[in-house]
């Protein structure tokens, strides 16, 4: 995987794919997509980068250990799940802002839930793949 073309391409692919994954995540409520697919695409983006530049390089881009993304994601998801509890509604009831936001559309607890799923999927996938690449 020392091809120059691959290296150059993946430099551009990483931000593009990440952006795409966020796009997939956000549109999930309206069109095909969502946290699972978005998370998987983001994970693949990082993987491609790691194939091109090596694991160390990728890890320095992510800054934090991908393992930490899992608890953060879980906090998001659980937070979104129990948020309704604090205003007296049953757990996991969907809460929504009245007005849609620009670019994003309607924002509600379901979106945060999906973001949580997104983060957990990235975290889990990267943890799995990185720990394997690490030891191979």
């Amino acid at each position: 995987m020392k091809s120059l073309i691959f290296k150059t391409a993946s430099t551009y692919l990483l931000p593009l794919l990440l952006l795409f994954s966020i796009f997939i995540l956000l549109r999930g409520h309206y069109l095909p997509g969502g946290g699972f697919v978005g998370g998987l695409i983001a994970a693949i983006a990082f993987l491609i980068h790691s194939f091109a530049f090596g694991l160390k390089e990728t890890q320095s881009i992510i800054k934090i250990n991908p393992g930490y993304l899992m608890p953060i994601g879980l906090v998001f998801a659980i937070g979104a799940a129990i948020a309704p509890f604090f205003i007296g509604a049953p757990i996991l009831k969907g809460l929504w802002f009245e007005e849609p936001f620009k670019f994003i559309g309607m924002v509600g607890s379901a979106l945060f839930f999906d973001i949580g799923v997104y983060l957990v999927v990235i975290g889990a996938t990267l943890t799995i793949m990185f720990s394997i690449t690490d030891t191979v």
């Binding site: 309206y30 069109l31 095909p32 699972f36 999927v121 889990a124 996938t125 799995i128 394997i132």
Partner: protein
């Protein structure tokens, strides 16, 4: 078409089981994945096949105007695919680890309990 899919489901299950019964751990995982694919397809098929009408409400509409594919099996299968990935990766790592420690791929050589490794 449904008949063809049913045949494929049968084939996936048969192939999956056959591989599951092999002594090689590698083949066992292949069998596991085949079985998973077969099961996913089975659930998907039972939601009936609808061409070209995904369960997405058109822009500007509040409810469906046309027929649409059954969303419930799709949601189930989506979950199953992701969980399946977790299972597969764990299984793959497990045989890798077993191979590293015991230097064998043969299930029958794992038959003794808790030996010194």
């Amino acid at each position: 078409m449904e008949i063809l899919l049913i045949i494929i489901i049968g084939l996936l299950h048969a192939g999956g089981l056959y591989m599951l019964l092999r002594r090689s751990m590698f083949k066992m995982i292949i069998g596991l994945i085949l079985l998973g694919n077969g099961a996913n397809l089975l659930i998907f098929l039972l939601g009936r096949l609808v061409k070209g009408n995904p369960p997405v409400i058109e822009d500007g509409m509040k409810v469906f105007s046309d027929i649409y594919a059954d969303p419930v099996p799709q949601a189930l299968v989506l979950t199953a695919i992701v969980i399946g990935f977790g299972l597969q990766s764990f299984a793959i790592i497990l045989i890798k680890r077993v191979y590293k420690v015991l230097n064998t791929d043969d299930l029958d050589e794992l038959n003794s309990t808790d030996e010194e490794i």
